[in-house]
Homo-oligomer: 106 residues x 2
DNA sequence: TGCTTATATAAGCCATGACTTATGAAACGG
DNA sequence: CCGTTTCATAAGTCATGGCTTATATAAGCA
Protein backbone atom coordinates (compact mmCIF):
# COMPACT_ATOMS: atom_id res chain seq x y z
CA UNK A 1 0.00 0.00 0.00
CA UNK A 2 3.04 2.26 0.31
CA UNK A 3 3.45 2.36 -3.42
CA UNK A 4 0.61 4.86 -3.59
CA UNK A 5 2.43 7.22 -1.26
CA UNK A 6 5.62 6.76 -3.25
CA UNK A 7 3.82 7.53 -6.48
CA UNK A 8 2.35 10.78 -5.25
CA UNK A 9 5.64 11.70 -3.61
CA UNK A 10 7.65 11.28 -6.81
CA UNK A 11 5.00 12.92 -8.97
CA UNK A 12 5.82 16.34 -7.56
CA UNK A 13 8.73 17.86 -9.56
CA UNK A 14 10.50 19.63 -6.71
CA UNK A 15 10.23 16.58 -4.50
CA UNK A 16 11.46 14.33 -7.27
CA UNK A 17 14.45 16.63 -7.76
CA UNK A 18 15.26 16.31 -4.06
CA UNK A 19 15.02 12.56 -4.23
CA UNK A 20 17.21 12.41 -7.32
CA UNK A 21 19.81 14.42 -5.50
CA UNK A 22 19.73 11.97 -2.63
CA UNK A 23 19.92 8.89 -4.76
CA UNK A 24 23.74 9.05 -4.96
CA UNK A 25 24.83 10.37 -1.59
CA UNK A 26 23.39 11.82 1.56
CA UNK A 27 22.79 15.53 2.10
CA UNK A 28 21.88 17.62 5.10
CA UNK A 29 18.66 19.61 4.98
CA UNK A 30 20.66 22.80 4.77
CA UNK A 31 22.58 21.58 1.75
CA UNK A 32 19.36 20.65 0.02
CA UNK A 33 17.78 23.99 0.83
CA UNK A 34 20.83 25.82 -0.49
CA UNK A 35 20.69 23.94 -3.78
CA UNK A 36 16.95 24.16 -4.29
CA UNK A 37 15.28 27.51 -4.87
CA UNK A 38 12.74 27.11 -2.14
CA UNK A 39 12.85 27.87 1.55
CA UNK A 40 14.18 25.44 4.16
CA UNK A 41 10.70 24.75 5.58
CA UNK A 42 9.50 23.81 2.11
CA UNK A 43 12.38 21.35 1.84
CA UNK A 44 11.55 19.89 5.24
CA UNK A 45 7.95 19.40 4.21
CA UNK A 46 9.00 17.57 1.08
CA UNK A 47 11.36 15.42 3.09
CA UNK A 48 8.54 14.46 5.43
CA UNK A 49 6.52 13.35 2.44
CA UNK A 50 9.45 11.31 1.13
CA UNK A 51 9.97 9.81 4.57
CA UNK A 52 6.38 8.63 4.80
CA UNK A 53 6.76 6.97 1.42
CA UNK A 54 9.87 5.16 2.66
CA UNK A 55 11.81 6.82 -0.12
CA UNK A 56 14.36 8.40 2.21
CA UNK A 57 15.82 7.86 5.66
CA UNK A 58 17.95 10.12 7.80
CA UNK A 59 20.48 10.01 10.56
CA UNK A 60 21.26 12.75 13.00
CA UNK A 61 24.69 14.21 13.55
CA UNK A 62 24.68 17.05 16.03
CA UNK A 63 21.95 19.43 15.00
CA UNK A 64 22.07 18.28 11.43
CA UNK A 65 20.07 15.54 9.76
CA UNK A 66 21.56 13.77 6.84
CA UNK A 67 19.07 12.34 4.39
CA UNK A 68 19.71 9.57 1.92
CA UNK A 69 17.60 7.50 -0.43
CA UNK A 70 15.90 4.43 0.97
CA UNK A 71 15.31 1.25 -0.99
CA UNK A 72 11.99 0.28 0.54
CA UNK A 73 9.63 2.76 -1.09
CA UNK A 74 11.43 2.51 -4.38
CA UNK A 75 11.18 -1.23 -4.34
CA UNK A 76 7.48 -1.26 -3.55
CA UNK A 77 6.90 1.11 -6.43
CA UNK A 78 9.04 -1.03 -8.66
CA UNK A 79 7.19 -4.23 -7.90
CA UNK A 80 3.86 -2.47 -8.39
CA UNK A 81 4.94 -1.43 -11.88
CA UNK A 82 6.23 -4.94 -12.55
CA UNK A 83 2.84 -6.45 -11.85
CA UNK A 84 1.17 -3.84 -14.04
CA UNK A 85 3.65 -4.61 -16.75
CA UNK A 86 3.02 -8.33 -16.54
CA UNK A 87 -0.72 -7.88 -16.76
CA UNK A 88 -0.41 -5.64 -19.77
CA UNK A 89 1.79 -8.15 -21.55
CA UNK A 90 -0.62 -10.97 -20.82
CA UNK A 91 -3.54 -8.87 -22.01
CA UNK A 92 -1.72 -8.11 -25.23
CA UNK A 93 -0.92 -11.73 -25.86
CA UNK A 94 -4.53 -12.70 -25.25
CA UNK A 95 -6.08 -9.85 -27.25
CA UNK A 96 -3.88 -9.73 -30.34
CA UNK A 97 -4.97 -13.01 -31.94
CA UNK A 98 -8.65 -12.08 -31.85
CA UNK A 99 -9.45 -8.38 -31.67
CA UNK A 100 -12.98 -7.81 -30.29
CA UNK A 101 -15.62 -7.27 -32.93
CA UNK A 102 -17.99 -4.32 -33.30
CA UNK A 103 -21.25 -4.78 -31.49
CA UNK A 104 -24.67 -3.54 -32.30
CA UNK A 105 -25.97 -0.68 -30.20
CA UNK A 106 -28.13 -2.29 -27.63
CA UNK B 1 10.83 12.76 -20.57
CA UNK B 2 7.49 11.01 -20.77
CA UNK B 3 8.10 9.28 -17.47
CA UNK B 4 7.22 12.52 -15.71
CA UNK B 5 3.83 12.61 -17.36
CA UNK B 6 3.31 8.96 -16.51
CA UNK B 7 4.18 9.58 -12.87
CA UNK B 8 1.71 12.42 -12.44
CA UNK B 9 -0.91 10.48 -14.37
CA UNK B 10 -0.65 7.43 -12.12
CA UNK B 11 -0.42 9.47 -8.95
CA UNK B 12 -4.08 10.43 -9.14
CA UNK B 13 -6.18 7.68 -7.49
CA UNK B 14 -9.17 7.79 -9.81
CA UNK B 15 -6.94 7.81 -12.85
CA UNK B 16 -4.86 4.97 -11.48
CA UNK B 17 -8.04 2.98 -10.90
CA UNK B 18 -9.00 3.50 -14.54
CA UNK B 19 -5.60 2.39 -15.71
CA UNK B 20 -5.69 -0.68 -13.51
CA UNK B 21 -9.01 -1.59 -15.00
CA UNK B 22 -7.55 -1.31 -18.50
CA UNK B 23 -4.44 -3.30 -17.75
CA UNK B 24 -6.19 -6.62 -18.42
CA UNK B 25 -8.62 -5.89 -21.21
CA UNK B 26 -10.00 -3.01 -23.17
CA UNK B 27 -13.10 -1.06 -22.14
CA UNK B 28 -15.26 1.52 -23.85
CA UNK B 29 -15.56 4.94 -22.25
CA UNK B 30 -19.14 4.20 -21.35
CA UNK B 31 -18.17 1.02 -19.54
CA UNK B 32 -15.53 2.88 -17.56
CA UNK B 33 -17.95 5.67 -16.69
CA UNK B 34 -20.55 3.15 -15.55
CA UNK B 35 -18.06 1.43 -13.25
CA UNK B 36 -16.52 4.58 -11.84
CA UNK B 37 -18.55 6.94 -9.68
CA UNK B 38 -17.74 10.00 -11.68
CA UNK B 39 -19.35 11.51 -14.74
CA UNK B 40 -18.46 10.50 -18.27
CA UNK B 41 -16.69 13.81 -19.00
CA UNK B 42 -14.51 13.26 -15.95
CA UNK B 43 -13.56 9.85 -17.30
CA UNK B 44 -12.75 11.33 -20.71
CA UNK B 45 -10.51 13.93 -19.11
CA UNK B 46 -8.61 11.25 -17.22
CA UNK B 47 -8.26 9.22 -20.37
CA UNK B 48 -6.77 12.19 -22.16
CA UNK B 49 -4.20 12.48 -19.41
CA UNK B 50 -3.39 8.78 -19.67
CA UNK B 51 -3.15 9.07 -23.45
CA UNK B 52 -0.61 11.89 -23.23
CA UNK B 53 1.47 9.76 -20.89
CA UNK B 54 1.40 6.90 -23.42
CA UNK B 55 -0.22 4.76 -20.77
CA UNK B 56 -3.28 3.93 -22.88
CA UNK B 57 -4.29 3.74 -26.52
CA UNK B 58 -7.68 3.43 -28.10
CA UNK B 59 -9.37 2.20 -31.23
CA UNK B 60 -12.67 3.33 -32.59
CA UNK B 61 -15.57 1.02 -33.34
CA UNK B 62 -18.63 2.87 -34.53
CA UNK B 63 -19.34 5.62 -32.07
CA UNK B 64 -17.48 3.86 -29.32
CA UNK B 65 -13.83 4.12 -28.36
CA UNK B 66 -12.19 1.16 -26.76
CA UNK B 67 -9.27 1.96 -24.51
CA UNK B 68 -6.55 -0.43 -23.46
CA UNK B 69 -3.26 -0.14 -21.60
CA UNK B 70 -0.20 0.82 -23.60
CA UNK B 71 3.28 -0.48 -22.90
CA UNK B 72 5.21 2.65 -23.81
CA UNK B 73 4.49 4.93 -20.88
CA UNK B 74 4.71 2.07 -18.45
CA UNK B 75 8.06 1.04 -19.82
CA UNK B 76 9.51 4.53 -19.65
CA UNK B 77 8.42 4.75 -16.05
CA UNK B 78 9.87 1.35 -15.36
CA UNK B 79 13.28 2.17 -16.78
CA UNK B 80 13.34 5.45 -14.88
CA UNK B 81 12.80 3.57 -11.63
CA UNK B 82 15.42 1.03 -12.62
CA UNK B 83 18.06 3.72 -13.01
CA UNK B 84 17.05 5.23 -9.66
CA UNK B 85 17.29 1.82 -8.09
CA UNK B 86 20.75 1.19 -9.53
CA UNK B 87 22.05 4.51 -8.26
CA UNK B 88 20.69 3.86 -4.80
CA UNK B 89 22.33 0.46 -4.66
CA UNK B 90 25.67 1.88 -5.76
CA UNK B 91 25.40 4.67 -3.21
CA UNK B 92 24.69 2.14 -0.49
CA UNK B 93 27.64 0.01 -1.46
CA UNK B 94 29.91 3.05 -1.47
CA UNK B 95 28.61 4.55 1.76
CA UNK B 96 28.25 1.53 4.01
CA UNK B 97 31.94 0.75 4.54
CA UNK B 98 32.72 4.25 5.78
CA UNK B 99 29.80 6.26 7.17
CA UNK B 100 30.55 10.01 7.07
CA UNK B 101 31.81 11.46 10.32
CA UNK B 102 30.38 14.36 12.32
CA UNK B 103 31.77 17.70 11.35
CA UNK B 104 32.35 20.79 13.37
CA UNK B 105 29.94 23.63 12.82
CA UNK B 106 31.68 25.93 10.39
C1' DT C 1 22.83 29.26 31.22
C1' DG C 2 22.29 31.77 27.41
C1' DC C 3 23.47 32.33 22.23
C1' DT C 4 23.76 30.32 17.81
C1' DT C 5 22.95 26.85 14.33
C1' DA C 6 20.02 23.47 12.17
C1' DT C 7 15.70 21.57 11.41
C1' DA C 8 10.73 20.83 12.17
C1' DT C 9 6.07 22.47 12.74
C1' DA C 10 2.14 26.06 12.40
C1' DA C 11 -0.75 29.05 9.97
C1' DG C 12 -2.25 31.26 6.07
C1' DC C 13 -2.18 32.35 0.95
C1' DC C 14 -2.82 31.07 -3.70
C1' DA C 15 -2.46 28.26 -7.96
C1' DT C 16 -3.43 23.82 -9.84
C1' DG C 17 -6.37 20.33 -11.06
C1' DA C 18 -10.36 17.20 -10.41
C1' DC C 19 -15.00 17.51 -10.63
C1' DT C 20 -19.60 19.31 -12.28
C1' DT C 21 -23.20 20.70 -16.02
C1' DA C 22 -23.80 22.22 -20.68
C1' DT C 23 -22.80 21.68 -25.28
C1' DG C 24 -20.35 20.19 -29.60
C1' DA C 25 -18.97 16.51 -32.96
C1' DA C 26 -19.34 11.93 -35.20
C1' DA C 27 -21.20 7.77 -36.43
C1' DC C 28 -25.07 4.69 -36.89
C1' DG C 29 -30.11 3.35 -37.70
C1' DG C 30 -34.75 4.12 -39.30
C1' DC D 1 -31.95 13.48 -43.34
C1' DC D 2 -33.10 13.12 -38.40
C1' DG D 3 -32.98 11.40 -33.92
C1' DT D 4 -30.12 8.66 -30.87
C1' DT D 5 -25.94 7.08 -28.97
C1' DT D 6 -21.27 7.77 -27.65
C1' DC D 7 -17.65 10.45 -26.61
C1' DA D 8 -14.95 14.90 -26.35
C1' DT D 9 -14.49 19.70 -25.19
C1' DA D 10 -15.85 24.18 -22.65
C1' DA D 11 -16.60 26.79 -18.70
C1' DG D 12 -16.99 27.36 -14.01
C1' DT D 13 -16.64 25.73 -8.94
C1' DC D 14 -14.18 24.07 -5.09
C1' DA D 15 -10.72 21.37 -2.45
C1' DT D 16 -5.97 19.98 -2.20
C1' DG D 17 -1.38 20.89 -1.60
C1' DG D 18 2.94 23.52 -2.23
C1' DC D 19 4.73 27.72 -0.94
C1' DT D 20 5.61 31.55 2.27
C1' DT D 21 6.77 33.77 7.00
C1' DA D 22 6.76 33.06 11.85
C1' DT D 23 7.77 30.23 15.58
C1' DA D 24 8.95 25.94 18.27
C1' DT D 25 12.47 22.33 19.33
C1' DA D 26 16.87 20.74 20.13
C1' DA D 27 21.77 20.24 20.08
C1' DG D 28 26.42 22.38 20.40
C1' DC D 29 29.38 25.89 22.33
C1' DA D 30 31.16 29.82 25.23
Amino acid sequence: MTYETALTALAEPTRRALFERLRRREHSVGELAALARISQPAVSQHLRSLRRARLVTHRQVGTRRYYRADRQGLDELRSYLESMWDDVLIAFAAADPAPPKPRKTK
